[in-house]
Symmetry: C2
Subunit: 452 residues, 2 copies
């Protein structure tokens, strides 16, 4: 019955129960079990979103937003079924202001398309989680990725959000000013909330000047510990690194094996320096001096785009290398710890993986303290999945114990609910109260973030 | 009776009803009417703060936190009397981690003392509101100041807060990791909340490397509009300016008059470039090229600290110049607008001031869109105060109309309550619901932020 109401409000073309469509909205890139929604809506406006929420409210139907399905923690899987909202028809740039260095977009635009739109004005949106996710999805998971060391996570890019609340009210979380001390700063409540507090219908983002000049570099160290120390020293030097990525030796070996490369099988650091040409050249020189003093090996620098791609190949090919092992499934971790704990945690991760006897790699956004593991298992061999997952579990708990977080950038979704109490302690009931306040009947993406 | 309970819990020495103490906790640097608390507490620990809140809860007594009394919007004035909490005995550095580039402090430490503690490790805490405020007060008002163009406001420095909630629960708003997608991001709810949602007892802050080298510079343009355009062009160029400050011609004239200087009476821009020496030199060269193309005048550069102080003299002496006019009181605005609206708003501010016939200046943190006015009035002349305040009112309303905020960095306190509905619209009831949720009996700094 509510499906007819949806059709009446949104039109036949914007409501689908086709099996292929339902299937596509039931999974993401995570290993979590697929659950298909009962119906998928394709709103074209905030008023459509209001109408969907009104029908959902009146019929007590769960509503789960969906971007491109590239999530890694099941945030968009409608575990309680109901309505999946796909934002592909709300993908417009509403206002681009180069003078303000801001852009206002609908949530369905992807970051590549956004950059295509704005790059000719000399500006870009630098947050880079790897895949071409929607901006709405990136806000909803507080995504970040390789450039967070310089630009921060999604929460740091937000000027204002327009949100349709569970009761149908449309709010703006803030003004369009760059900063404000007015009212309460509620914008970041929605960053990483995975659609559980409201449905985002507009996002105003900070933009950044495209760096004039880029230099990429790579080096290796004998130990992970030395890589971490080097990373700390570079950050302390004040060099505004755009990227600093770590790969452990096992990951390099796997990339070599899969692709026939001959990268030296050592813990490796990958760097991107970007800015005004002379400044970047000075920074690279300084970085090299610092790294030389720390006995780095295989320091190499790439100036032109082709060379740069070549030099970063190992890092780019990394997750694909693991994914492409035939017949194998994978599970991954996403912990983030205070930087001084990073060497211990990465060493611990490596030991845990080695103990399982499974194949796996460790790499990370070493400037933020955020790192990932990827462990391959054979889904047909009894116990292998559990073994792989036990590594994630031990890592998440250890990360929280040393003052870190069970998820640096993928979100809580389905897999990290069980760590919420350990990580948030006394503030978890406060988060639950906020959820209750914003969504009293629990129609917004139920079954996420909290355990029940 | 509750005062005896406070004395019993905190000890005689930590509870005061001395008249001089009460008077000192009744006012700040704003023109708002002083209101003395009934008693001032000097807690030495979070447990003391818990005890104060328990007694306040049981006796339904208002509690208002107090830093150094340097606020500009009356946030620390206990308008409903009751207990003022002074944090001068909670001013310790609890944990300093150069490797993490973070520090955990108690709220009563001031930013100068914090910097004294950490500077020898090559790190600094760059947020600079001018005065030597406490870190707790700076969080509570989401303070920022001249360096926000590069480092952001207080909200952007926060890793984790420890907060005693109205019900006595002690929470940590986040982990100690640099980023996280776990739970809801509640840290920024407390930034700018002026003690109305909980009492902050610990703050973990991001730190930044002390720039190796600094160059300061100054130039003038014929119009405010050209200053704003120049500012936009510099930001678009990607130069990581540490400071870019604007002063209107009337302000320069007043500084000259007060101090006998001969600065050219033109709209002026003041710059600070900071970073690695070669990078800074390259950036200044690029800035000069950009500014030359925009027909700037009187470009001058200072390399050594003495010269630098000399060159920034006009800017430094600015607010003091107005304050030191004998027998005159002053009111000031603190609006923040999208940067492209800045020329119009500043021109409007200048016109409004000129129309009153009163003396006043306009200056601003032009990289953020945040600017201030200061208007002098004679408190003995009937109607002058109202005239001066009418300028503030018109400016606040105009700022909100163009998508900006009534307060960029001073806070809502007492003076900006009346604009909350206009600025926040539908999100104001949500903010009020959050207040109700966190502080159901309304003991935390009542009479602030909201109108009732």
């Amino acid at each position: 019955m509510y499906v007819e109401q949806l059709i009446e409000k949104l039109g036949m073309d914007n409501v689908s129960q086709k099996e292929s469509i339902l299937i596509r909205h039931g999974y993401d890139e995570s290993p979590h079990k697929a659950v298909e929604p009962d119906v998928v809506c394709f709103p074209t406006s905030k008023e459509d979103v209001q109408a969907i929420l009104e029908i959902a409210r009146n019929n007590q139907i769960p509503v789960t937003p969906f971007g491109t399905g590239s999530g890694l923690e099941g945030s968009s899987i409608p575990v309680k079924k109901g309505i999946s909202i796909n934002f592909e028809q709300m993908d417009t740039v509403l206002e681009f202001s180069p003078e303000n260095m801001t852009v206002t977009v609908q949530p369905g635009i992807t970051r590549f398309r956004l950059n295509d739109y704005i790059n000719s004005a000399g500006l870009y949106f630098p947050v880079d989680p790897g895949v071409d996710a929607t901006i709405g999805g990136m806000v909803a998971t507080n995504a970040s990725g390789t450039t967070a060391v310089r630009y921060g996570a999604m929460k740091d890019q937000l000027i204002d959000l327009e949100v349709v609340m569970a009761d149908g009210t449309i709010i703006h979380t803030a003004s369009k000013a760059k900063k404000s001390s007015s009212g309460y700063l509620i914008t970041n409540l929605f960053a990483g909330s995975e659609g559980t507090l409201g449905i985002i219908t507009e996002v105003t983002l900070k933009l950044h000047p495209i760096p004039e000049y880029t230099i990429m570099a790579r080096c290796t160290f004998e130990t992970i510990n030395e890589c971490a120390t080097a990373s700390q020293q570079l950050l302390l030097s004040g060099i505004p690194l755009k990227r600093i990525e770590l790969m452990d030796a096992a990951s390099v070996a796997e990339v070599n094996r899969q692709n026939g490369y001959k990268f030296s099988v050592r813990p490796s650091l990958f760097f991107e320096f970007a800015g005004a040409k002379q400044a970047v050249e000075a920074e690279v020189e300084l970085a090299q001096t610092i790294l030389d003093n720390l006995s780095c090996e295989h320091w190499s620098v790439a100036l032109d785009p082709d060379e740069q791609q070549e030099l970063w190949k190992a890092r780019y090919d990394l997750s694909y290398s693991f994914q492409s092992v035939k017949g194998m499934d994978e599970v991954g971790a996403d912990v983030c710890v205070p930087i001084k704990e990073l060497p211990e945690l990465i060493t611990y991760a490596r030991e845990l993986i080695d103990e399982t006897g499974l194949k796996g790699g460790v790499w990370g956004h070493v400037g933020d303290g955020n790192f990932h593991t990827l462990i391959l298992f054979d889904p047909l061999v009894n116990g292998e999945r559990q073994l792989a997952e036990s590594v994630n579990e031990a890592l998440a708990i250890r990360a929280i114990e040393v003052g870190g977080s069970c998820t640096g950038e993928h979100g809580v979704g389905i897999g990290k609910q069980k760590y919420q109490e350990l990580e948030h302690g006394n503030s978890l009931p406060i988060m639950q109260n906020i959820k209750q306040l914003f969504d009293p009947t629990g129609i917004l993406n139920p079954g996420k973030i909290f355990m029940n």
